[in-house]
């Protein structure tokens, strides 16, 4: 990538374009998992950064990716994943932002061959005037029957000025395919917060407990689940 993107580019539509010159140019990273192998990788983004990653999974390969995007400044992670026959890709990602920060995750998962599966879970907690974005495209190529793709996208807005953009997108060129996506944007449950408060939890602790539960779904199964959650809680503390 050499030329700076603009908002006319769909994948950069909600990006913090003004932050890009300071981060440009970026070096794409390439990850290849050989047929039958398995791999895992975790990205923790705490400073302004743009990551561009291309992943190719060979036949029967597996990869699990976990992301905590709590960048102070513009944080973006773009993944382009190509799945071979029977390959399996799992993404669990959390984004936490406050102030006027923009954080985003952009994925394109291509089921290039039959019987591959992909699962994406994204949880966002947004405060202040922050913007959290998830653009997720799943492409099932012609002949890639038996594909199984799922996306579960949820965002929690802590303040009126915060915004979440979630855009799941399916492009299916095969017949025998199972693809599901769910998306929800909401606020913390007031009844739940009062229940916790009535037992003695101060407001910030009650919110943190509920948000911890909300974010935990993104980190399930991570080797470093406890470390990720601890870093997430530190980021949450600044918002509450």
């Amino acid at each position: 990538m050499t030329a700076l993107p603009t908002r006319h580019d769909e994948a950069w539509r909600y990006a913090d374009i003004a932050a890009l010159p300071a981060l440009w140019p970026i070096t794409p990273e390439v990850i290849v998992v050989a047929p039958g192998d398995s791999a895992s990788r975790t990205w923790v983004i705490e400073r302004a950064a743009v990551h561009d990653i291309a992943i190719t999974l060979g036949a029967g390969a597996q990869m699990t990716v976990h992301v905590l995007n709590a960048a102070r400044g513009y944080g973006r992670l773009a993944l382009r994943v190509t799945l071979g026959a029977g390959a399996q890709f799992d993404l669990g990602a959390a984004q936490i932002a406050g102030g006027d920060q923009t954080v985003e995750i952009v994925t394109e998962v291509i089921h290039a061959e039959p019987d591959a599966s992909s699962r994406q879970v994204v949880r966002q907690v947004l405060a202040g005037r922050a913007s959290g974005n998830y653009l997720g495209r799943v492409v099932v190529a012609r002949g890639a029957n038996g594909s199984d793709g799922s996306q579960s996208i949820r965002a929690m807005l802590l303040d009126r000025g915060a915004s979440a953009n979630a855009r799941p997108e399916l492009e299916i060129h095969a017949d025998d395919v199972k693809c599901a996506h769910g998306c929800a944007i909401g606020e913390l449950d007031a009844d739940g917060l009062f229940y916790l408060a009535s037992r003695g939890l101060p407001p910030a602790a009650a919110k943190a407990l509920m948000l911890q539960a909300f974010l935990a779904e993104a980190f399930v199964g991570a080797d470093d689940e406890a470390t990720l959650m601890a870093a997430a809680l530190t980021a949450l503390e600044d918002l509450l």
């Binding site: 449950d189 007031a190 009844d191 739940g192 009062f194 229940y195 916790l196 408060a197 009535s198 037992r199 003695g200 939890l201 101060p202 407001p203 602790a205 009650a206 407990l209 509920m210 911890q212 539960a213 909300f214 935990a216 779904e217």
Partner: protein, 246 residues
């Protein structure tokens, strides 16, 4: 312990409590009975400080403090426990973590040392055994997948762990079968029937009062207490209905 004087409260600008006065001393168990819509649950939520329940006039003193000036979590730390008619489910938050953090938040507010994980678990197991609740359920998310009866027993387990001065129990008997009713009744007696504690039972029916014998019974109607008496008043209400007596 609790002095409510001429309390008026509204919910969504609609007056519900209209001049309620009530005094509860340490060592006493009071029952508030009344027809639907009398304001029973509103009284519980108002004393607990639930947002949306607005006090328009009157005072409430609790253990020497102005209760109405305290936030809900401060009321808990001061020794108030509100047993919910419909305990809230909170997916993803384990009962053990929630209760341990709650208890330690209360202890911190009172200037007491935190309880260690081991000491807390011992306390939680004892409380669960008292209410005949499988301690494994405390590892589950708060109230998620609990039956109606289990939720109510779990409320009593929470009360046992948090050890309040005053428990306000809103329809604790609803959704309980006969056996569970007996277990909850015995739990309330074991935890709260003490010279330094008090209970306010909010209930529709007399049946819980067979197990937890109140010292005083009050009839709430139209947002005020219209009649007070001893335990026999509950029996009269059961026999004759609210309209005849209130």
């Amino acid at each position: 312990m609790l002095h409510i004087t001429d309390l008026h409260a509204t919910v969504a600008d609609k007056p519900i409590l209209k001049g309620l006065s009530l005094t509860i001393n340490a060592g006493e168990i009071h029952a508030i009975m009344g027809p639907n819509g009398a304001g029973k649950s509103t009284l519980g939520y108002t004393l607990g400080g639930r947002p949306g329940y607005d006090v328009t006039s009157g005072t409430v003193a609790f253990a020497g403090q102005d209760l109405l000036a305290l936030a809900p979590h401060e009321r808990a730390a001061a020794g108030l426990f509100l047993g919910f008619q419909y305990p809230v489910e909170i997916p993803g938050v384990s009962m053990v973590q929630f209760l341990r953090e709650s208890l330690n938040a209360q202890r911190k507010a009172r200037g007491e040392a935190s309880l260690s994980g081991g000491a807390f678990l011992k306390l939680a197991r004892e409380a669960a055994a008292l209410l005949k609740l499988d301690p494994e359920m405390l590892k589950r998310p708060v109230n998620v997948g609990f039956s109606g009866g289990e939720k109510k027993r779990a409320e009593m387990v929470q009360m046992g762990i948090l050890d309040p001065k005053l428990a306000i129990l809103d329809e604790t008997d609803s959704g309980l079968d006969i056996d569970a009713l007996k277990v909850c009744g015995e739990g309330i007696n074991a935890i709260m029937r003490r010279p330094d504690k008090a209970v306010l039972l909010i209930t529709h029916y007399q049946r819980l009062l067979d197990y937890v014998r109140p010292d005083f019974v009050h009839v709430l109607a139209g947002g005020r207490i219209v009649r007070s008496g001893g335990a026999e008043l509950a029996r009269d209400l059961e026999d004759h209905g609210y309209e005849a007596l209130a």
